[in-house]
């Protein structure tokens, strides 16, 4: 189990490093070779993930507000992902295991689900305060 987790960690770490370098040196807002969202291409509407490549590029350059402008959900959810990754690494190298309490709260996951769905709808509303959520 531990060996499997270590292998997973190495693969994910390499992938994250390569992608970070790619998005840092070739920001998604300026280069058009990045894959586009199928949902957006087909419907012209934004999905919950639209703008996350541009948001990631902006964050790597320390531009938090630009990142929020591209995809608010991405910026809000990122700390949760980072925390989960930290606990995963900690549990590989430490004997004192940590439990991901927040991720296993029924209310937390339900709230998150509604936040994702609400974000999907609201960012496509073409009226003033919601247009800010657009990618």
């Amino acid at each position: 189990m531990r060996l499997k987790n270590t292998t997973q960690l190495i693969i994910v770490a390499i992938a994250v490093t390569i992608l970070s370098l790619l998005y840092f040196f070739y920001p998604a807002a300026q280069y058009s070779f990045y894959p586009r969202c199928i949902f957006h291409s087909l419907t012209g509407l934004d999905c919950p993930g639209c703008g996350s490549q541009r948001a990631a590029s902006a964050l790597l350059h320390g531009r938090l507000l630009t990142a929020i402008n591209y995809n608010l959900l991405f910026v809000v959810v990122l700390p949760i992902v980072v925390a989960a990754a930290f606990v995963f690494c900690w549990n590989i190298f430490s004997h004192k295991k940590l439990q991901q309490r927040l991720l296993y709260q029924p209310l937390f996951v339900k709230t998150l689900l509604w936040v994702v769905l609400l974000f999907w709808v609201l960012r496509n509303v073409p009226v003033a305060p919601f247009t800010w959520l657009k990618a």
């Binding site: 199928i38 949902f39 919950p48 490549q53 995809n71 989960a84 991720l103 296993y104 709260q105 994702v116």
Partner: protein, 103 residues
């Protein structure tokens, strides 16, 4: 509803993996409804575990894993197809333009 004082079958102390973080990443980066299906099953893992339904939680965990993985590989597949299409069109365009230049 089980009596919480009775030890749970297979002596499990921790809930099964709910794949929540993976589903969120699939939702954000692969643009597909499979990630949302994953989050729904992640939610079921937690609810069923909290209600002492160990088998239900395990089943929800397997479903969450299934949809998250489908989302991940479909996403990868679409990205690969996208690049194949871009390269094919790019080289096709290059070939066409070189032909028209030669004529």
């Amino acid at each position: 509803m089980q009596d919480p004082t009775i030890p749970q079958p297979s002596g499990q102390a921790f809930p099964p993996k709910n794949w929540l973080v993976e589903s969120i990443l699939v939702t954000l980066f692969c643009c597909l409804p499979f990630g949302i299906a994953g989050i729904i099953f992640a939610s079921q893992v937690n609810t069923k575990w909290a209600a002492n339904d160990v088998n239900g939680a395990m089943q929800a965990s397997r479903d969450a894993a299934k949809w998250t993985k489908i989302g991940f590989f479909v996403g990868i597949g679409v990205i690969v197809l996208y690049f194949i299409a871009v390269f094919a069109l790019g080289f096709g365009g290059l070939w066409m333009s070189s032909r028209s230049l030669n004529q």
